[in-house]
């Protein structure tokens, strides 16, 4: 099996890149910390200044870990959506699940201002938790709606359209909420919408990583189902797959992943759509037994790279993650796809 060996090497290579990016994420930032010092802090030896230790352990490490986990989760979620809808344009946000999260957040942010009289941004930690909960409630309710709809409708395309419609509906409500809100709250909401890996701190980060560490392996249980869904409903069904149940399982799995990531990092665009395509091209397979781990590592690596760029000296953390994911990621993915086309023609 030549292909299997090649894939293992590729996976290991990407893992290595992840380690490298992880380390770079520790080293680079607005405060200059020498590499040796970073190494000492990470391996817990030597006496480095407390401020440096704080920067590494309280800021850079949580941020990098969040990026890693979020990237992996979104990429897997995107892969599942693309397979279940057999649509290359599908992604984690396609079913309006992230719009649901936005709606939840919009409700909390914009209402707390107009009703409670306090801007949420002043509430600190409680505000942070409230935002996460609102996002999860919002996205999971949209997902429940989608799952309910998938019971009722037969076609994939119909379901996809319903999802997109729900997304529009959520955005419309957000628009109305914005219209009646004070400027300060709108700014809070807009900043949330730009996405960030640095919002999660301390205990919350641990919770986020733990949840994802459970969910991502769970999503791996669906590989055979996903492989069968590739063949189309008719063939999958003939091979003994219960299509309705499979569809609901995959949508739920993918939806929960998106919901959790969105709750902690805001709606991160692009990664979930692009990484699966990148993996298909690089690994040249459509077998989910390879694509799933591939998306996991590729998504993590790409998210780390984006986080790195967003924090490059000069930007000082001012660059929103969403701008970086799209600005840097889109040309990279496009060029890979273009090169692939050429190879195909030459064959």
């Amino acid at each position: 099996m030549k292909a299997a060996g090649r894939n293992t090497i590729l996976l290991l290579l990407i893992l290595l890149i992840i380690c490298l990016f992880l380390f770079l994420n520790m080293v680079l930032g607005s405060v200059h910390i020498p590499m040796s010092a970073v190494w000492h802090i990470l391996t817990d030896q030597g006496e480095e200044p407390q401020t440096w230790q704080n920067i590494i352990w309280k800021s850079r490490f949580p941020q990098a870990l969040t990026a890693l986990v979020a990237g992996a989760g979104l990429s897997i979620s995107g892969l599942q959506m693309q397979t279940v809808f057999r649509n290359p344009l599908a992604g984690p946000s396609v079913l309006g699940i992230s719009s649901g999260a936005s709606l939840g957040v919009a409700f909390v942010v914009l209402f707390s201002g107009s009703i409670g009289g306090v801007a949420l941004s002043h509430l600190g930690f409680i505000g942070e938790v409230a935002l996460s909960i609102a996002a999860i409630v919002g996205s999971l309710s949209v997902m429940a709606l989608i799952v309910f709809a998938s019971h009722k409708v037969k076609g994939n395309v119909t379901l996809l359209i319903i999802g997109v419609m729900i997304g529009y509906l959520a955005n419309a409500i957000i628009g109305i909420l914005k219209y009646f809100s004070v400027e300060e709250d709108i700014k809070t909401y807009v900043i949330w919408g730009l996405g960030s890996f640095s919002r999660v701190s301390g205990n919350q980060m641990m919770l986020f990583v733990t949840i994802m560490a459970v969910l991502i392996p769970l999503s791996f249980l669906l590989v055979k189902t996903l492989n069968l869904l590739l063949l189309g409903d008719g063939y999958a069904r003939n091979l003994g797959l219960n299509i309705k149940r499979a569809r609901i399982l995959v949508i739920t799995c993918s939806g929960v992943l998106t919901a959790i990531v969105t709750a902690y990092c805001g709606p991160i665009i692009f990664l979930g759509l692009a990484v699966p395509h990148l993996c298909r091209v690089v690994f040249q397979t459509s077998d989910h037994r390879i694509l799933m781990p591939a998306c996991l590592v590729m998504g993590a690596a790409l998210a780390l790279a984006c986080n790195l760029i967003a924090r490059m000296p000069g930007f000082e953390g001012a660059l929103p993650v969403n701008s970086v994911t799209a600005l840097i990621g889109a040309p990279v993915v496009a060029s890979v796809l273009f090169r692939k086309r050429k190879n195909e023609l030459n064959e």
Partner: protein, 353 residues
């Protein structure tokens, strides 16, 4: 007789169950499908071929009656059991990128594989066997999206074979293929019934092929429902000619095949034998002239014995004219007709022989 009916349909009604009333597509279907035979379902568009196939493959519920597979009612099987009894080749085109033919065929093993869908040595053996049966060894490592329609169809048939089911249903497997590929697929399926003793049932629009290759034909129409039998029996009983009557198609008893109905305006005597005779006859037929050696006419065409392999147009008063090709011969005839619009050529509208 060691012939066993794998599929038995008893008073089967198919269609779609609406909220208030059912839309019946066909009813009272009683027929059997036998193991080791290739059965072809023929019928015009919209008559319910696909609905019947979908009902038989348990994709949609029947309205009334019974479908028995190996002596057991179809709905008694669960999803898992069904996947080891029936396999399908559908019209929906699977355009999966980055999947090799061997991987696709391996998917046919899904009912037998475990949780992760990993193939064990027996599964891999079955895959290789399926590849061999369909003769697609050179394609096995190719990516699915690089195949032609015909090659893809063969890969799909191999997938169905890897599924190791006694029954295979195919929905229009020869649609979109060029003629040699159509023949190849049909012959392949026929060979499979003999080599594997599987029950193969397919719907098709390719009459000619079906009549030549199928063991059994099912004719499906709105009025009679399903009429089943060997192509030859159906021909003798007149079912075939009735089935396509009034559509400009005539069932030619001599060849056992269909041809386009010709209305003859003239008759001419034609002598000779073999291919050359048949070809001239066919060309004249197209030009609304009934030709034959039993016909009496003043001018006549000799298809052999002439100099340099030509055709000879004999005339009672003039000397015979040589034609080098059938095209030339037709030109000569036309010229002759222009010159003499007399009664040398009988004017009549005679039915075919």
């Amino acid at each position: 007789m060691n012939k066993s009916a794998t599929i038995q349909l008893r008073n089967l009604s198919i269609g779609y169950q609406g909220k208030t009333h059912a839309k019946v597509v066909a009813e009272n279907i009683c027929s059997d499908i036998y193991a080791g035979e290739l059965t072809c379902l023929l019928g015009t568009n919209g008559v319910g071929k696909s609905t019947l196939l979908r009902t038989l493959s348990a994709f949609q519920p029947k309205l009334k009656g019974e479908i028995q597979v190996n002596g057991k009612n179809l709905e008694k099987y669960n999803d898992k059991e069904l996947s080891t009894i029936l396999s399908v080749v559908l019209t929906e085109k699977c355009d999966i990128r980055n999947m090799t033919v061997r991987e696709l065929i391996g998917m046919g093993r899904s009912p037998y594989t475990g949780f992760w869908g990993r193939l064990n040595s027996r599964d891999r053996e079955m895959v290789e066997q399926a590849i061999e049966l369909v003769h697609i060894q050179p394609l096995a490592s190719r990516m699915l999206h690089t195949l032609s329609d015909g090659e893809r169809q063969k890969a799909m048939i191999a997938k169905a074979l890897a599924q190791e089911t006694p029954v295979i249903y195919l929905d229009e497997p020869t649609a979109f293929l060029d003629f040699p590929s159509k023949v190849e697929i049909m012959q392949l399926l026929h060979r499979l019934t003999r080599e594997t003793h599987k029950t193969i049932f397919l719907s098709t629009h390719d009459l000619e092929l079906a009549l030549q290759i199928a063991d059994k034909i099912w004719l499906m129409d709105k009025i009679n429902g399903i009429t089943a039998g060997t192509p030859e029996d159906l021909a003798l009983k007149g079912n075939l000619s009735r089935f396509f009557a009034s559509k400009g198609i005539t069932f030619d008893m001599e060849s056992g095949l269909f041809r386009i109905t010709n209305n003859y305006r003239e008759q001419i005597r034609l002598t000779g034998h073999g291919y050359r005779y048949a070809m001239v006859r066919k060309a004249l037929q197209r030009n609304e002239i009934l030709a034959g050696r039993h016909i009496e006419s003043e001018i006549y065409i000799e298809t052999e014995g002439g100099a340099n392999d030509g055709f000879t147009l004999h005339h009672p008063e003039r000397s015979p004219i040589q034609a080098s090709s059938i095209e030339h011969l037709l030109e000569l005839l036309q010229e002759y007709k222009k010159q003499e619009k007399t009664a040398t050529v009988h004017n009549c509208t005679c039915p075919s022989q």
